[in-house]
């Protein structure tokens, strides 16, 4: 075999592998999309529906429509959602956006302290954060419930069944983000900040005008990651939020899956919809997530 033939074989194998991988990822997605356009609420069927129906999408957007109850007689009934699912969609975006912004503010400033300041118990605090993050949030579900219940007695706006309460719980999950951002800060040479100090910048100015602009990539990554995780977070939201008009998308979507009747069609439509804000956020943040933003400032 000549070198070019070898290369061809290698290329073919690599491409075959990648195509298999793509299929593995795309098939479930296509199945969900197809389920959302199918008539009736059945999970398994053909990829391309026999009859394309927009019923589920109408439902999701809160548009009333006639559903065929008995195909034999052609009997229909008017379907109109009590809480339009779009409302849940908005709740999700609101909660995820505020929580992610809060996460960035909290973990960014905490990471700065851990990366740059000297104080007592620094190492211990850092390590306990690392250990704490190993326990999933669900484990403390009961505690969250009790705390929010208690808080709600004094501050109604942040008790159970409020978005503020949910956001507060979400803000607790910053420890791994602190570690991430701290790791990034530590790759930025301290001389950059020292230089700013000599130029007359205060510690706060150094943080906001030097460190934050340089660290945009990691902030973008943290924002995307937390946004995605909160858009699809179910366990905590399902416990904290009780009334239908407060639900987030994940809780709302799950409400379609009754024990007796699983409405896969509506669930699928909602699932596809939930991908939209995630994609938008990703595209917006993508331009910040470019390597080499620090390149050129210093030479190692």
């Amino acid at each position: 075999m000549t070198a070019s033939q070898k290369l061809l074989v290698r290329k073919t194998i690599a491409h075959a592998f990648m195509i298999c991988f793509l299929i593995l990822i795309l098939v479930p997605f296509v199945m969900v999309v197809s389920a959302s356009f199918r008539q009736g609420n059945f999970a398994p069927s053909r990829f391309i529906p026999d009859k394309v129906s927009l019923d589920h999408w109408r439902y999701v957007f809160g548009i009333p429509y006639q559903e065929v109850v008995n195909p034999a007689t052609g009997e229909t009934r008017l379907i109109k959602p009590t809480t339009p699912p779009l409302f849940w969609f908005w709740n999700s975006i609101k909660v995820s956006f505020i929580a992610s912004t809060g996460i960035i503010l909290l973990s960014g400033s905490a990471a700065y302290a851990f990366a740059r300041l000297q104080f007592r118990f620094r190492a211990i605090t850092l390590n306990s954060l690392l250990i704490l993050q190993m326990f999933p949030m669900v484990l403390s579900l009961v505690a969250f419930y009790v705390i929010l219940d208690f808080l709600g007695q004094y501050f109604q706006w942040t008790g159970l069944n409020t978005h503020a309460g949910l956001i507060m719980v979400y803000l607790g999950g910053i420890s791994n983000y602190i570690w991430m951002i701290k790791g990034y800060f530590e790759t930025i040479p301290p001389s950059m900040e020292e230089s700013a100090r000599i130029d007359g910048a205060s510690q706060f100015q150094t943080f906001t005008r030097i460190l934050i602009p340089i660290s945009l990539p990691i902030f973008a990554v943290v924002f995307i990651l937390s946004f995605i995780s909160y858009m699809s977070e179910y366990p905590v939201a399902s416990v904290v939020l009780q009334s239908g008009d407060n639900w987030t998308l994940a809780v709302g979507a799950n409400s379609f899956l009754y024990e007796q009747e699983k409405l896969w069609g509506r669930f699928a439509a909602l699932a596809v919809l939930s991908g939209v804000p995630i994609t938008v956020v990703f595209l917006m943040c993508q331009r910040f997530v470019i390597g080499g933003l620090t390149s050129g400032g210093v030479k190692e």
Binding site: R122, R197, S295, K299
Partner: protein, 375 residues
């Protein structure tokens, strides 16, 4: 006019850990006076405390004890920006997200100077440094030398009384380093400001400094102008550190033979024996039967007899490095090794027997116990 004079008195820097326990003393009670307009080089091996000293002058490190005054004013508790200093870092420390203009203007903007003033002074400085056509670029689009020039410019626009350089050239390639070296020297001549320059490179120290401060393990070993440092090292460390190749240092004893003093190298029987005449005899008279170190610069070993101060030594060539106009010859004489810098285009061969003439006038003797020069 002494507003740029820097006075360091009994300066100590001890690092402490999280709980305030002392871990390491980097600077051990040093005192140093730097005149207004002087170019002072702090030189020494890594970990000798030279950078720490500079950073304390800059205000980036807290002073453990002692005082630093700039222009007669004690600056121990002053913020870096209020000390009238500017610093150039080894890694340039430019702000990567800002244009060259903003990099240079940042300090002036923070000081709330007017827009006209900023653009005027940045414009003038960038023109002088040949950066005026790249003010809108960002640091990553510049070469190493240009970046270091931006860092220089950023220091200049602050119009400081004292410039601080922390190994500014060690990230540049050899050619650029030589060029920037002369540019900084020119800058010093133009501005006439005090400059404190930290380097581990003794060539930079020798070529740039008005005076050089040699440091080791947090102590000052000697402060002097380059030639004094070269000709009259105070101690073994300075003798070995300054000069390339370094001074030949032979360990041995002073002995009395036939009424006159001789230096006997090593403890072995076949060690080199050198007579100590004239000046050296007086110096060595107190050291009979004591350990001393005999130091002679490579260029003071000649291949021809010049005058009576030259003493012949038979030696064997181990390596020869012809450099064109001169050769560096690594010799084995007695049990010791010596390097000779011999002028002329003579080629030396491995194993060749050479009679080398040692110029006793230029020899330094050191006390082996204290490592100080014998005066």
């Amino acid at each position: 006019m002494s507003e740029g004079a820097v006075d360091i008195k009994n300066l100590v820097k001890t690092y402490v850990d999280d709980r305030g326990r002392p871990t390491f003393t980097a600077v051990k009670n040093i005192s140093l006076h730097i005149e207004d307009g002087e170019f002072m080089v702090l030189v020494g091996p890594s970990g000798c405390g030279k950078s720490t000293t500079l950073r304390m002058v800059a205000g980036l490190e807290k002073i453990s004890s002692g005082t630093i005054s700039i222009g007669g004013r004690v600056v121990n508790e002053l913020e870096p920006k209020d000390r009238g200093i500017a610093m150039v870092f080894q890694n340039y420390a430019l702000y990567p997200h800002m244009t060259i203009f903003n990099n240079m203007a940042f300090g002036l903007q923070l000081a709330k100077k007017t827009k006209e003033f900023i653009s005027e002074s940045v414009g003038r400085t960038s023109k002088a440094l040949g950066l005026d056509h790249m003010l809108e670029r960002k640091p990553h689009a510049l070469s190493g030398g240009q970046r270091q020039r931006v860092a220089l410019g950023r220091a200049i626009v602050r119009s400081p009384k004292v410039f601080l350089f922390d190994e500014p050239l060690s990230n540049l390639d050899a050619k650029m380093r030589v060029q920037m070296r002369s540019e900084i020297s020119k800058l010093h001549a133009q501005l006439g400001s005090t400059m404190i320059y930290v380097t581990h490179d003794q060539v930079e120290a020798m070529t740039m400094g008005d005076r050089i401060c040699v440091m080791r393990d947090g102590n000052i070993m000697q402060v002097a102008d380059p030639l004094t440092l070269y000709r009259q090292p105070d101690n073994l460390f300075v003798a070995g550190f300054i000069g390339s190749p370094p001074m030949n240092l032979l360990k041995g004893k002073v002995q009395k033979r036939d009424g006159s003093l001789v230096f006997v190298e090593g403890a072995e029987k076949n060690g080199l024996t050198l007579p100590l005449q004239g000046r050296l005899e007086t110096l060595a008279s107190k050291y009979v039967d004591k350990d001393i170190v005999f130091g002679v610069r490579p260029e003071h070993l000649a291949d021809q007899v010049k005058d009576s101060a030259h003493i012949p030594v038979v030696s064997t060539v181990e390596i020869s490095e012809p450099m064109g106009s001169e050769s560096l010859v690594y010799l084995k004489a007695g049990t010791g090794n010596m390097i000779a810098r011999i002028h002329g285009e003579h080629l030396y061969h491995l194993g060749e027997q050479v009679t080398i003439q040692v110029n006793l006038d230029k020899v330094s003797l050191f006390d082996a116990a204290t490592e100080n020069v014998i005066r």
